[in-house]
């Protein structure tokens, strides 16, 4: 007597309840608050906002809590929410030259207007586990709050640009509206605006690996970290009925301008070229990787050979999105009985034909019939 398998609905409900229970963990341990996540796991929040393409610390913290610290799951939660938000317009282009800088380093000049601002960084810490953090630690107040020299802090690439040593930054073309990969499906070849959008929400680990591969010779582009800056930038919006820009608030950004070698061509003098990275919050690894990959993807435009994976735009852009990647990889968990049954049938047929042709039936074949 066989009973058909059923009860999926109850199984799902029970699984959800169990998940909520496990997310909470030991109930004698105090629950983590969104403020705690936002303040003490701030770099996780920054990554979720960047790859989730939504600047909202509170919702990103909620996503991290709900996802039990699974970053890609948190990014997915934020993206799915973002997709439902109405869009009332586009902001004015932000101006990172006007950034309230908290950290700014250049590896190309020892000093330049505005100076180097080390700021808060892991860079020169010794990676020794700190037992003091096992309990509640109360670190010393910072002696001097890192503060940039007053006045504007020109971008290193602007300084190079004045002598024509670096290609000019592309200027806005009023004829060409900036694309939007969340509103149109990406097609190839893709222009740089679309490529940068794709990389901005692309998986940090994926971009890191691709960027690294260019350094190891797969599409080498001789990069220098022209400048990395972290700080606050104001966002302005022009409401149609008002006709002038009003500030909406400020956001924290990390920007990387990579300066890369270019040998020049028959028609163009040798000059430095640019790779660009931009992300929400403090996300230095992300913007540096992004800048390396951006530059690699400009191979076609600059007349370089497209040979390495990081230069292959269709390959890079089609696989950068971790929400898409994880969905398709993990969908293998879904039932595939029907297809598998077809394959079983085919395989048995092929094996039978093979056995008949060789006139030596295998024991497997008997079992299968």
């Amino acid at each position: 007597m066989y009973v058909a398998v059923k009860g999926g609905e109850r199984a799902i409900e029970n699984a959800h309840r169990l998940l909520a229970h496990e997310r909470r963990g030991d109930r004698s341990v105090p629950e983590v608050s969104l403020d705690q996540i936002s303040n003490q796991l701030s770099l996780a929040v920054d990554r979720v906002m960047t790859e989730g393409s939504l600047y909202d610390r509170e919702l990103a913290s909620l996503a991290i809590k709900q996802a039990r610290g699974d970053m890609i799951e948190a990014i997915f939660l934020l993206r799915a929410f973002r997709a439902t938000l109405p869009r009332f317009g586009s902001s004015e282009p932000i101006d990172t030259a006007q950034m309230q800088v908290r950290r700014r380093v250049s590896s190309t000049f020892k000093d330049m207007p505005g100076g180097q601002v080390l700021g808060a960084t892991f860079d020169y810490t010794h990676r020794l586990l700190d037992p003091a953090l096992m309990g509640e630690a109360s670190p010393e107040q910072p002696s001097v709050v890192a503060e940039a020299e007053p006045g504007v802090m020109p971008r290193v690439t602007d300084i190079l640009g004045r002598d024509g040593l670096i290609e000019p930054s592309p200027v806005e073309d009023p004829e060409h509206q900036v694309g939007d990969i969340t509103r149109d499906s990406l097609s190839f070849p893709a222009d740089r605006d679309l490529r940068l959008q794709n990389l901005a929400r692309g998986d940090e680990g994926y971009l890191l690996a691709l960027g690294y591969s260019t350094q190891r010779g797969y599409g080498r582009n001789h990069p220098f970290a022209g400048e990395i800056r972290v700080g606050e930038v104001s966002v302005e919006f022009v409401p149609e009925d008002l006709g002038f820009a009003v500030p909406l608030g400020s956001i924290t950004l990390t920007e990387c301008q990579m300066v890369n070698q270019f040998k020049g061509s028959d028609t163009e003098a040798p000059c430095f070229t640019r790779g660009y990275g931009l992300a929400f919050g403090q996300s230095e690894r992300k913007v540096m990787s992004m800048a390396l990959v951006d530059r690699a993807l400009r191979a076609r435009e600059l007349g370089e050979d497209v040979k390495a994976p990081a230069q292959d735009e269709e390959f890079v852009l089609s696989h950068s999105d971790n929400v898409q990647s994880t969905g398709f990889v993990e969908h293998l968990k879904l039932p595939h009985y029907v297809d598998f049954q077809s394959e079983l049938g085919l395989l048995r047929k092929l094996r039978k034909e093979f056995a008949e042709a060789n006139e030596a039936p295998t024991p497997m074949q008997e079992a299968a019939e």
């Binding site: 058909a4 199984a11 993206r79 938000l85 097609s187 969905g327 969908h331 297809d339 049954q341 079983l344």
Partner: protein, 294 residues
């Protein structure tokens, strides 16, 4: 905090209009893959987001929705999608194929014949039938534009040369309206003949790959083959152990670790309807209905 509020069938009306435009274009060019601005849905890519977006765009308050996965209404993902639309659209749902107006499916076409009042929505993982022969979208789009399908015929020919027959068991490519080669989604080739000259509208949604395509009613759908090696639909050598059907697609159930197996209909509604009509198979027991425990 912005408390989330959602529209009827989840998607906002502008998004639905965008999807409907893509659907209309797809119907106008049978078998052609129309790019659309797929949204992030609250379920993972690869789990039916394309089908869900198509369903959300065509669903009206008076529709009766059926969702199947592997032919069954009771597989976990089918339940999850059905509950999603119950929650976000409040539409009536059914497991009955004949009573449904919209049927969303993954990997199967149910056994009962579709009527003109019905729409079948397929979930599609890889919409491009040429993808595993040519990974680049730029190339495959050109091949479709020029109807340059030699490559896929060579693949089928190589199967014949090597195995003596075409060795594709599911996602068996078809030519729609004598023009576009189309991926029928990973349905077993057993189901291919049902697509041909079907009374119902068939819509295909691929969310991750951002493509929608369609087979309008009464359109020819030809499984690719050769004159001397015609398309052979898959046939089971067994009957359903529950309803004794000899014409349905069967799932193989492993019943012990000694090699015992039995076969039952993959289409649960078809099987249950037949059992209610008094058909009995060799292993018949009335399936335990979930509603009793709800």
């Amino acid at each position: 905090m912005n408390a989330p509020t959602y529209n009827f069938a989840y998607l906002d009306e502008q998004t639905k209009r965008m999807i409907r435009r893509a659907i209309l274009k797809a119907i106008a060019i049978p078998g052609y893959q129309v790019p659309f601005a797929s949204r992030e849905m609250p379920m993972p890519y690869g789990w039916g987001t394309g089908g869900v977006q198509v369903t959300a765009a065509i669903l009206g308050p008076d529709d009766r929705l059926k969702v199947i996965d592997q032919g069954s209404d009771d597989t976990t993902n089918a339940i999850s999608i059905r509950k999603f639309f119950q929650k976000t659209a409040g539409v009536a749902v059914t497991t009955s194929t004949v009573n449904a107006t919209v049927i969303q499916t993954r990997h199967r076409i149910h056994e009962a014949q579709l009527g003109a009042h019905q729409v079948l929505v397929y979930q599609v993982p890889i919409p491009e039938p040429l993808r595993f022969l040519e990974p680049r979208e730029t190339e495959t789009r050109r091949m479709h534009a020029l109807a340059e399908y030699g490559l896929i015929h060579v693949k089928l020919y190589e199967d014949i040369a090597r195995f003596g027959h075409i060795a594709t068991a599911y996602a068996y490519p078809v030519k729609v309206n004598a023009r576009y080669v189309m991926d029928p989604s990973p349905t077993p080739k057993f189901d291919n003949p049902k697509m041909d000259n079907c009374e119902a509208l068939q819509l295909f949604g691929a969310g991750r790959e951002k493509r929608i395509y369609a087979i309008p009613p009464y359109t020819t759908v030809q499984s690719l083959d050769f004159e001397d090696y015609p398309f052979e639909p898959y046939k089971h050598k067994a009957c359903c152990a529950l309803c004794n059907a000899a014409d349905s697609y069967l799932d193989e159930i492993v019943t012990d670790d000694k090699g015992s197996r039995m076969f039952v209909c993959s289409d649960t509604d078809y099987c249950e309807t037949r059992q209610a009509q008094g058909h009995r198979g060799s292993e018949n027991a009335s399936p335990f209905a979930e509603s009793r425990h709800a």
